[in-house]
């Protein structure tokens, strides 16, 4: 029992609700939201320390023993994601302070932002399938409002598609929960794992696992990504960046949790399917990224490539592959937020997203240019930046598992991703400067701070990967050994 675990949900939720009362006081909103996110980051650090010392931490709400009550479980994988979430959210918030505009601020932008983080944090630490659904909904409902807040034509049009897609996938989630409850009689992850192992993962359970895979694929933009490019290019930059960084990763986290803890008995069916989906995602994403000439679309397709690559590590289902995925998911959260913030800054400077209408920005904005260059290299996994280690491990893992085609596609699409972002760099920053300083519509004043923080983080994460390795090893150990998780939840007692 550890009451600290629920704090990353409670703190942003309570502070967000308090902020709704003080609607007019925007300054208070800004301060409180920073405090809430910093607190949730601090709690994640404390949790990581405790997990490293004493193993996986659990909390049974209301002291209802598992599997009867709702359990919260914090293992190293979820704590690492909690910490990354807080850091990236703070950076996006700092960017929003300067760019989001007074109208959105007075219409509860900051409380909604905190509710979004509440849902994301909740999804990472819940130990119950139905509670996962509830946390998903908290996150999604906040994202529905955030994506349409402001009410421009493009936003409204895209948000309707986004909302409808997600509502349908929520229904499918409930259907899957109903089926899984009928077969196993439980919804607790640890108990599900025990029961599925006892009964054997027969045809019915495999079908349900694939239904769950489809649902989470819709959320994670794994193969079913048709909704993503449109809806991620509609909202303002700070919102698009937090969406690109976090929302797809929550779906990926759910896939990882279920297919390492519960449905790991038939890897030749489920994990092979995951591999095929990952490969298709990478190829289609890369084609989209290369084909487009609009910054927002190129970046949105890069999100899709990243999803496919992380999933390739799971498909290999080896220690190497999963280690790579843990590194890469952390890297991907940071670098996607960074590159979306950079893209948004370029668009706000030039007033256009079309690559052919801009050039020569390096003369007026040298720092922006060089940071974009670093981010582009990091995205493609050039050493010593943070993407490198994850790429090496995932590629090695897929080769080890005999999925040479998957590793090969991963490497090929990395090159295509590099080409697509370098295309932005060359068209934006090289060439004749035909936009003079006065013609630029916006300024980068204050916007560079979060961008610089994130780019520093991607460099440090690449150079200091050694220091992170003791934590990622723990995360991978839990993911590869379901018994550790089950033992932590049931505390050594026999399972009913």
């Amino acid at each position: 029992m550890n009451n600290l675990i629920i704090m990353p949900i409670i703190v942003p939720l309570i502070i967000g609700m308090a902020m709704v009362i003080f609607r007019r006081n925007i300054k208070l909103h800004k301060i409180l939201s920073l405090i809430a996110l910093a607190a949730s980051g601090l709690i994640a650090v404390l949790l990581m320390g405790e997990i490293k010392a004493d193993g996986i931490q659990t909390l049974h709400l209301g002291d209802w023993q598992p599997p009867f009550g709702v359990s919260m479980v914090a293992d190293m994988f979820s704590s690492l994601l909690l910490l990354t979430t807080s850091i990236v959210a703070i950076c996006c918030l700092l960017y929003a302070f300067r760019s989001i505009g007074e109208e959105r601020e007075s219409h509860y932008f900051y409380p909604l932002f905190l509710f979004l983080i509440t849902g994301v944090n909740g999804s990472f630490i819940t130990g119950d399938l139905f509670n996962l659904f509830v946390c998903f909904e908290v996150m999604l409902i906040s994202s529905y409002v955030l994506i349409s807040l402001g009410g421009t034509k493009v936003q409204l049009r895209e948000s309707i598609k986004y909302v409808l897609t997600n509502i349908i996938s929520s229904f499918l989630f409930l259907v899957a929960i109903a089926y899984i409850y009928a077969i196993t009689g439980t919804l607790n992850f640890a108990h599900l794992s025990v029961r599925v192992a006892e009964a054997g993962q027969g045809g019915l359970l495999t079908i349900i696992s694939i239904l769950l895979l489809i649902i989470f694929s819709l959320k994670a933009a794994l193969f079913l990504f048709f909704w993503l490019p449109g809806s991620y290019s509609a909202p303002p930059t700070a919102v698009a960046a937090i969406f690109a960084a976090l929302l797809t990763k929550v779906g990926i986290y759910a896939i990882f949790r279920l297919f390492t803890l519960v449905f790991y008995h038939e890897p030749q069916i489920t994990h092979f399917l995951i591999g095929i989906l990952g490969a298709a995602t990478m190829i289609l994403g890369a084609i989209g990224a290369v084909a487009h000439w609009d910054i927002k679309n190129i970046l949105a397709y890069n999100v899709i490539i990243g999803v496919g690559f992380i999933i390739a590590g799971l498909a290999s289902f080896s220690i190497e592959g999963i280690t790579g995925s843990v590194y890469y998911i952390i890297h991907d959260i940071i670098v996607k937020a960074l590159i979306f913030l950079l893209g948004g800054t370029i668009i706000s400077l030039t007033g256009t997203g079309k690559l052919k209408d801009m050039s020569g920005l390096i003369r007026t904005h040298p720092y922006l240019g060089w940071i974009f260059f670093i981010a582009a290299l990091s995205l493609a996994g050039i050493p010593p930046l943070s993407g490198f280690l994850g790429k090496v491990f995932i590629t090695h893992g897929t080769f080890e598992a005999g999925y040479y085609w998957l590793g090969g596609i991963g490497l090929m699409t990395s090159l295509m991703a590099l080409y697509s972002v370098i295309k932005i760099f060359m068209n934006c920053f090289w060439g004749e400067t035909f936009l003079s300083e006065e013609m630029m519509s916006g300024t980068t004043k204050g916007l560079m701070v979060p961008i610089a923080c994130l780019s520093l983080l991607t460099i440090l994460l690449g150079l200091g990967a050694e220091g992170l390795s003791s934590y990622t090893e723990l995360a991978v150990e839990t993911l590869m050994n379901p018994e550790l998780y089950i033992h932590a939840v049931f505390g050594g007692q026999s399972t009913p």
Binding site: F130, V134, E137, L140, I141, Y144, V145, S148, G151, K153, V154, L156, R157, S159, I160, V163, L164, I167, I168, S170, F171, L174, V175, I177, A178, Y179, Y181, A182, S233, D294, N297
Partner: protein
């Protein structure tokens, strides 16, 4: 009884799917609403229909009905209520701003 419930769930899903595939926004929302009712009935059926007494402490001797599906459905109804409300508001606003509720005319292009 289970067969009857399953047929009803199937009917709800069929009607909901038909409505979601139409072009008018309001019909789409009604479709999602109907599917959600089908989903709730499905959870009730899959959790096992009434087989015994209520799960109360004073009635320990009786075989009792599993109360969890009801709790799940209650939560799901609340969430569905919220999403439907948001969806309705959003589509009303979209109708006001875009001037149409026909999804065919909402495709638009990126140049706006």
């Amino acid at each position: 009884m289970e067969t009857l419930m399953s047929l009803l769930v199937g009917l709800f899903f069929a009607i909901g799917t038909y409505l979601i595939l139409t072009k008018s926004l309001l019909r789409i929302i009604l479709g999602t609403s109907i599917i959600s009712h089908g989903v709730h009935l499905l959870i009730l059926t899959m959790g096992g229909l009434k087989t015994g007494g209520p799960p109360l402490l004073g009635l320990q001797d009786l075989p009792f009905t599993d109360a969890l599906p009801q709790a799940l459905i209650l939560t799901a109804i609340v969430i569905n209520f919220a999403t439907t409300a948001i969806f309705l508001v959003l589509s009303y606003r979209a109708y006001k701003v875009l001037g149409t509720d026909d999804t065919d005319q909402m495709r638009g292009n990126h140049d706006e």
